[in-house]
């Protein structure tokens, strides 16, 4: 089955991101397809490569990046939500005249249409938020 996932809260602050990660791993292990995880609201903050969690804690961004690499899950960060919150890729940083970008490998910034498309194409859509 194709299961889409929506993540609506930020890393470390809310368990939603962890629940989504554990859920996606279990879905993949059960042989389902997770074509895309869409990050919205504070969920976009998962994608910053600048986070430095304490050594004895999980690294949420790295976990997702590795998941994308190993299983080809498309990690999409909402552009409108990302801009408000200061998440930029190289192109956006240049376009907006900012001197740095911060998105991590494995994530791509795109529009809300990718969420609607996921809702249309997936058999189920599961939301993790607050």
């Amino acid at each position: 089955m194709k299961i889409g996932v929506l993540v609506s809260e930020g890393p470390y602050t809310h368990e939603a991101v962890d629940s989504a990660y554990n859920f996606v791993k279990a879905a993949l292990a059960a042989g389902h397809e997770v074509p895309r995880v869409f990050f919205y609201h504070d969920g976009v903050n998962v994608s910053t490569r600048l986070s430095v969690p304490p050594q004895d804690e999980r690294n949420i961004q790295e976990n997702w990046t590795n998941l994308a690499k190993e299983h080809g899950v498309d990690l999409v960060v909402c552009i409108a939500a990302a801009q408000r919150r200061g998440i930029l890729d190289k192109n956006e940083a240049e376009r907006q005249g900012k001197d740095a970008d911060n998105i991590a490998e494995g994530f791509r910034i795109s529009g809300l249409g990718q969420l609607i498309e996921l809702g249309i194409q997936a058999d189920r859509l599961v939301t993790f938020g607050d």
Binding site: L112, G113, L115, I116, E117, I120, T127, G129
Partner: protein, 135 residues
């Protein structure tokens, strides 16, 4: 399965205290371009999103309540509001904005987009969807 799915946007939170109401509306506007079967549900504190006379200058946030009145132009014409949620909060339909759309199947007659329904009817609406997005 047909290419058209039933999408329901469920709004349970008050406006301005958090961004969910505003960012929910942004999804609705973008989603309108996909020609799906779209409806919005307002229950619990979500009913506060539709109240009249919102004026945000004093807190410095953007007043997005007029956007609800533009939804008809995007062919988003069904806004279900839960009666029990209104009553619990001491509100009536008169406290809500008037939101109209032009019905192209009825000689462009102006019709109200807001439909106040009971909790049981809201449960029925939810149970017939393909995709439910919660905010």
């Amino acid at each position: 399965m047909s290419d058209v799915k039933k999408f329901l946007y469920v709004n349970r939170k008050a406006p301005y205290g958090t961004i969910y109401a505003l960012e929910s509306l942004e999804v609705v506007l973008i989603g309108a371009a996909f020609e799906q079967d779209v409806a919005l549900a307002f229950l619990d504190d979500g009913v506060f999103q539709l109240t009249k006379s919102q004026e945000t200058d004093g807190i410095g946030c953007k007043n997005f309540s007029p956007t609800f009145r533009a939804l008809g132009d995007y062919d988003v014409t069904r806004l279900y509001v839960e009666r029990e949620s209104l009553e619990e909060r001491g509100l009536t339909e008169d406290d809500l904005q008037e939101i109209m759309y032009e019905d192209e199947d009825d000689d462009w007659a102006e019709k109200p987009s807001i439909c106040v329904i009971s909790r049981a009817e809201m449960a029925d609406v939810m149970a017939e969807q393909d995709v439910i997005l919660s905010f």
